[in-house]
Amino acid sequence: MVYFIVKRLVQSAFVMLAVAFLAFSLFRFVGDPITQMTGVETSVADQERLREDLGLNDPYALQFARFTGDMLKGDFGFSYRTRQPVAEMIATRIPATLELGIVALLISLLVGIPAGVYTALRPRGIATQAILMVTLVGVSIPTFVIGIMLIFFFGVQLGWLPTFGRGGTVRLGGWETSFLTVDGWRALILPAFTLGVYQLTLTMRLVRAEMMEVMRSDYIRFATARGVPMNRLYFKHALANTMVPVITIIGLQFGGVIAFSIVTESVFQWPGMGLLFLESIRFVDIPVMGVYLVVIAFFFVLVNLIVDMLYVVIDPRLRIRDVS
């Protein structure tokens, strides 16, 4: 196990380096930071001087070396747009995104797994057909349309929930949380639902497929024949056997949640990393984009590591392969 973890950590370092490299290569294609940093009246000579000062005229390899070198030293640089330290900017935005993502993921799992089990056990039921249909329509409408519709229905027409932002937050050390106030929770509902609905459908359909497969497998049939109680059968034996793909999906969904949080945060003006990233693209704020990607890569690596370790815990048969 220790060997496994160490090996994965070494690999993870390479993943992060590769992400940094890819990220850095694409910045050249996003646009020109100088025209976004200066006003219309700024002379061409002044623009050139700024470009020189920021090192944007240096050879590409040198710029990348400087970027990774500084980052390894813990120096994340300063934003072109606001001149603030990037580390601080990202750090203040992490709680908003993580809390939104966690709640969305919880909605997806807490609703998706039972719904998947139910629809697998009663494949011909009316409720099953209804659930499948509604979720299908739900995932067929683009996220941004759903978000805006929810805002106008629950925020404007009914006036029940806030239309933007995080509402009341409480600062716990360096972490600004929505979880401790009623306002914070109210503000979380719509964005978390918007973000979770797609993942929910995916979870449900995957659990359903796996469950149906398992239910037909020989050992469940034997168990049925032996007279094991149905409830025990469904939830202990059958569900446990669907766990490997479900855990895979949680790992995948974390990716989906982070990627789609960009859209959700933009629609709900949710002050998380995704919104910051979008603004940074608009202003070609290269240092912020770079650090954002490396931080995201770090989260992915971490989650994947945990998922892989869970595989080993849940299904001991996999352990043999990994060690060999």
């Binding site: 996003v30 006003g39 002379s43 002044d46 920021l54 606001t82 932002g165 629609v267 608009r282």
Partner: protein
């Protein structure tokens, strides 16, 4: 702005003065972009200057009708025996930290704002020397007579020398942030209580402000909301009191609801098409590869006649735009009344002009447009492309965000392009200097004249216009420039961009045509 609205603003002013100090009024507003810094000299961009005008002040300022009026200077006059201006400063003005305001602060702010690290330094290119005469008198010496100078520095904001020095912010932040990026100390009506960049910025009134407060705001909260539908929802749900701007197509929706109002006006920005005058050949043509038809003024005029502005107004802009004949709207000084006609929509004329120029069958070319810069910019270009196609001008349209668009224009990568221009100095001289004078990096002229339109007479007239003190003589020269550029179709001016704000009914405020929002004119009335 409607007459009743103007009246209600005046009335609001009166009410607020009597009610001041009696009720606590918090005010929430939103706009699309967060000011990227609190440093008044670091970035010359509208979101920053508009926001900081609530906190910092200049020697002069603009009133509700955009006219220049005294601010930190009580009066100014041309210097005797030298080119330049003498400013007499207001006494008994204090900064928000309590320090007194003197000529040393103006001198310091000048040095800071004209430094290489400042983005606003181009305002001071005519200035050769600044001299402190006494504590409340300062001279700005210019290298040539400069009648426009006082009105060109309305956004030059003064900060406290001792505060900046003590906090190590003597220069605008270049790489790393400094104290002035996140903190303020101005003389203006509001001061910063908290700032969370990109999320929320809170302002509170400056109790010792030298001027009489016409507002009744006790706390003002600004939130940037990038998505226009979300911003509108925030207004309609009552979470914010005011938003600038709202999309044109939603005006009817807001007006139809009880408790909300729409403020409509015209910005000073004129939207226009420009050409690659200087190119030898078209860059994006599939049929004409050995010539540049746009070098021929008849072809440019044909393009102008192809545009059906009335339909654009009716369908895309819901009847809210005013056609433009020149690069500034009529409310800008120097506007040429003598040249107020714009080419009519006349597709037959366009076709015959093309035939005359030898392109009876038309030709294809590349049209570049931004898609996130001006109101309906992409839709406008698609409509124009369709109108060009109707006379045989086959536009290959390519649109993109400004972050990518400006570099393409700078690299000369277009046959025709879309541009909007708002004269920063509110005078016709501004577009002549930036858009009509030939490109001249040395003299910093024509820097946004991407197609390098060039006319020797225009180049000759610009310095004369800049120095002419006599208003009539100056206007005659401006008229000549406008007439030349219209005859040669240097650009196709299309229309003045509309300005659409929305607020709750109980909010009185002033919409200024530079799209700056001034908290000092806000009155929050009792909600019905």
């Amino acid at each position: 702005m409607s007459r009743t609205l103007r009246k209600s603003i005046l009335l609001g002013g009166v009410i607020s003065m009597t009610a001041l100090g009696v009720q606590a009024e918090s005010f929430h507003w939103a706009s699309t972009t967060d000011p990227q810094t609190m440093d008044p000299h670091a970035v010359n961009s509208a979101p920053v200057l508009s926001f900081l005008n609530n906190v910092y002040e200049g020697l002069v300022r603009r009133g509700q009708d955009m006219a220049i009026e005294p601010s930190l200077a009580t009066s100014w006059e041309p210097m005797v025996g030298d080119n330049g201006w003498r400013f007499n400063l207001r006494q008994d003005v204090t900064f928000q930290d309590g320090a007194a305001f003197t000529a040393e602060d103006v001198m310091f702010s000048y040095q800071r704002a004209s430094n290489e690290a400042a983005d606003v330094r181009s305002w001071f290119s005519p200035v050769s020397e600044v001299r402190v005469v006494d504590d409340f008198t300062i001279d700005f010496v210019t290298s040539a007579p400069n009648p426009l100078f006082p009105s060109s520095i309305a956004n030059f904001m003064i900060l406290d020398k001792d505060w900046a020095t003590a906090n190590d912010a003597t220069l605008p932040a270049r790489d790393a942030e400094n104290f002035a990026t996140m903190n303020v100390n101005g003389t203006g009506p509001f001061t910063l209580s908290s700032r969370d960049p990109g999320v929320k910025t809170v302002l509170a009134p400056h109790a010792a402000w030298w001027d009489t407060a016409q507002h009744n705001v006790t706390e003002a909260t600004f939130t940037p909301i990038g998505n226009s539908a979300t911003g509108l929802a925030a207004l309609l749900s009552g979470e914010i009191d005011f938003i600038q701007p709202i999309p044109l197509q939603d005006v009817a929706q807001v007006e139809s609801r009880d408790g909300f109002k729409v403020l409509e006006g015209e910005e000073t920005r004129v939207i226009m098409f420009g050409f690659g005058h200087e190119h030898d050949t078209l860059l994006y043509s599939s049929d004409v590869t050995d010539a540049n038809p746009f070098a021929d003024p008849r072809v440019r005029l044909a393009a102008a006649h192809a545009i059906d502005l009335a339909s654009i107004d009716r369908v895309l802009f819901r009847g809210k735009i005013e056609g433009a004949s020149q690069l500034v709207p009529a409310n800008i000084s120097g506007y040429s009344d003598a040249n107020a006609d714009r080419p009519a929509y006349d597709p037959e004329m366009a076709k015959s002009l093309l035939a005359e120029a030898g392109y009876a069958d038309g030709f294809s070319f590349g049209l570049k447009c931004p898609n996130d810069r001006y109101i309906n910019d992409e839709a406008l270009c698609r409509a124009a492309a369709s109108m060009f196609a109707a006379v045989g001008l086959d536009a290959d349209l390519s649109t993109g965000p400004v972050r990518d668009y400006w570099p393409q224009l700078r690299e000369d990568d277009f046959d025709m392009y879309l541009l909007g221009w708002s004269p920063g100095s509110f005078d016709m001289e501004h577009p002549i200097r930036f858009l009509m004078h030939s490109q001249d990096d040395e003299k910093k002229l024509g820097s946004w004249n991407f197609g390098n339109y060039s006319n020797a007479r225009v180049d000759e007239l610009l310095p004369l216009i800049q120095q002419e003190i006599d208003a009539d003589a100056r206007q005659a020269m401006v008229d000549e420039v406008v007439s030349i550029t219209q005859d040669e179709v240097a650009y196709i001016p299309l229309y003045t961009q509309p300005l659409i704000w929305a607020a709750k009914d109980n909010i009185d405020l002033t919409q200024r045509s530079d799209n700056f929002f001034m908290l000092r004119w806000v009155t929050v009335n009792e909600a019905n």
